[in-house]
């Protein structure tokens, strides 16, 4: 899930040079839509297809309306504009579905669609677009259209992650930001713009986070008093991935797998 999010975000960043904080919002939208469609249709497959298509549409819409003009701007503008989008989406969801968390039933057939996403010809396009972007435009490929499609696809990836999260976590406004920050950590560790980095980063962060939460307290209680361990364990576990990120950046400011080009 972290990987799906990270792949979508790093894709958008790598190809379009856009920092998209609203990525978490697509995750949230995907989760809500999937939950809603699931309760309407009763079929999980239908819910998946419908919510993916809708999230894609939402992504395309957002790109067309708000983000098109931002590619030329610096990252600060992008961060702020997408921050505004987050506020908007969180409230929109709160209006439509209410503030309370909703829950999805776990579908019977759960596995099977996890590994589809990253198999697109990403490196090829990346090279084509970034290195000879202007030339490609001159050759007649519609770069704006491609950007819109890439952005929509990134949004759909986030929506996919969101709909898988539905049965596991509570679906609520603001759920996007919780994961977004972790995804940032993943991307920074892996190297911005690199899909391979995103995969390694996601596995690393997921492992460290889970193992930290599970084992840090028992581990500490073997060394210091149980009371101190009770107090320090959860605190340490929750900051562990950030420490990991700081360490990685300290030694390799580019991340583990810097993107080429």
């Amino acid at each position: 899930m972290l990987f799906l999010m990270a792949a979508g975000l790093t894709l958008v960043f790598g190809i379009m040079n856009l920092v998209n904080l609203a990525h978490g919002s697509f995750y949230m939208v995907g989760a809500y839509l999937a939950t809603t469609f699931f309760s309407w249709t009763g079929s999980f497959v239908a819910a998946v297809v419908l919510s993916l298509l809708t999230t894609l549409a939402v992504g395309v819409l957002v790109e067309l309306i708000a983000l098109r003009t931002l590619y030329e701007r610096d990252h600060l503008d992008q961060v702020l504009a997408t921050f505004g989008l987050i506020l908007f989406f969180n409230e929109l969801v709160a209006i439509l579905w209410g503030r309370a968390a909703i829950y999805t039933a776990t579908p019977a057939a759960f596995a099977g669609y996890i590994e589809l996403a990253p198999r697109l010809r990403y490196p090829t396009y990346r090279a084509a677009v970034i290195l000879v972007g202007l030339a490609v435009a001159a050759l007649g490929v519609n770069i704006r259209l491609l950007y819109t499609v890439v952005f929509g696809f990134g949004a759909a990836l986030a929506g996919l992650a969101g709909l898988m999260a539905g049965p596991i976590y509570a679906v609520q406004p603001g759920m996007g930001e919780q994961i977004l920050i972790q995804v940032f950590v993943v991307i920074v560790i892996g190297g911005i713009g690199s899909i391979r980095g995103a995969l390694v980063g996601a596995i690393l962060v997921g492992m460290v986070d889970t193992l930290g939460r599970a084992f840090l307290r028992p581990l500490l209680s073997t060394m210091v008093s149980p009371n101190a361990a009770d107090a320090a364990g959860p605190a340490l576990a929750s900051i562990l991935i950030y420490v990991l990120m700081a360490a990685v950046l300290f030694f390799r400011p580019q991340g583990l797998f810097p993107a080429r080009g």
């Binding site: 920092v19 961060v79 504009a81 506020l87 969180n90 409230e91 605190a235 990120m245 400011p253």
Partner: protein
């Protein structure tokens, strides 16, 4: 500047005349955030470092006051110095690691550090954890000034804000300010003429952290309650938006931005519970069409750079 300060100084009498003491509270809050935004502007507007974790220092300052008060240390001089020192040290550590990176990595790493402190705040069960804790009493200044008096507190905040505006003005126009601005516009060139931008940037980062820590100490006294929410990343975003709204790279911009944003929030939240649905697109519009902030919309360059 004199006009603005005068206007702010007239708020309490006006509020008293209108019998709306609430406005003293609101404007005090605005000025506290103006101070925080001002400190961010030093890093962001002048130093060109997009720090997305500035609320962390706000939180550290507030927690320094709160934790000392928790152990019965009510002396304001001590509390506030501790707040400034703690945030400055945090800024030193965070800055030393993150200034090695730049661009998006810098944004993300400062954000991650702030979140790290946020989760740390949540896990501090002794100090209220998730729910936060009330401040036992406002800081005591040995009878010199009584913060329980809303007017005294108001004018103290105003005085501090003016003080930091003056200091900021001197700082950015001194050699130091010139160097960080040079490093912003062209780092290799700044290096080529013999400066070490890293050190200057780090110092700016630490100064900003310390100043924001003071704002945090004020905020803790303002709300008399502290929660990890002070450090939440949306708070960082808000402070950053204040800077942009007012106009970054100016001294009064952040002050104007803080007043306008908090004022807007106040008006909108009175209108509808879902005020963020208006604020969000407003933010997008400002970024898209008023890049230089409200100050940039004013004619002429007279007011720029204070």
């Amino acid at each position: 500047m004199a006009v603005g300060v005068l206007a702010l100084a007239l708020v309490p009498p006006a509020a008293a005349a209108l019998n709306q003491p609430f406005y003293v509270d609101l404007f005090r809050r605005m000025m506290i955030f103006a101070l925080a935004a001002l400190s961010l502007d030093l890093v962001l507007g002048y130093g060109g470092m997009v720090s997305f974790g500035h609320a962390a220092y706000l939180g550290i300052g507030a927690y320094a006051v709160g934790i000392l008060a928790f152990y019965g240390v009510d002396n304001g001089f001590l509390q506030w110095s501790a707040a400034i020192a703690a945030s400055a040290v945090a800024a030193l550590v965070i800055g030393a690691i993150s200034i090695r990176t730049s661009g998006v990595s810098f944004i993300m790493i400062t954000l991650a550090f702030a979140q790290m402190l946020y989760y740390l705040g949540i896990s501090l069960e002794t100090y209220g954890g998730d729910n936060g804790m009330p401040l036992r009493t406002r800081s005591q200044f040995a009878g010199l000034i009584d913060l329980r008096n809303p007017y005294a507190f108001y004018y103290l905040v105003l005085a501090l804000l003016v003080l930091f505006l003056v200091l900021g003005h001197r700082l950015v126009n001194a050699r130091f300010g010139m160097v960080i601005r040079a490093a912003k516009s062209n780092e290799p060139r700044a290096r080529a003429i013999g400066f070490s931008p890293f050190r200057y940037k780090l110092v700016a980062f630490v100064l900003a952290g310390g100043a924001c820590g003071l704002a945090g100490a004020l905020l803790a006294n303002q709300t008399e309650y502290l929660t990890p929410e002070f450090m939440h990343w949306t708070r960082s975003g808000e402070i950053m938006f204040m800077v942009i709204l007012g106009g970054m790279g100016t001294l009064f911009g952040p002050v104007v931005g803080a007043i306008v944003l908090l004022g807007l929030e106040d008006v909108l939240s009175a209108l509808t519970e879902h005020w963020q649905i208006i604020l969000g697109p407003f933010l997008v519009l400002v970024v898209l069409f008023a890049k230089r902030g409200l100050f940039g919309l004013l004619p002429g360059e007279v007011l720029r750079d204070g």
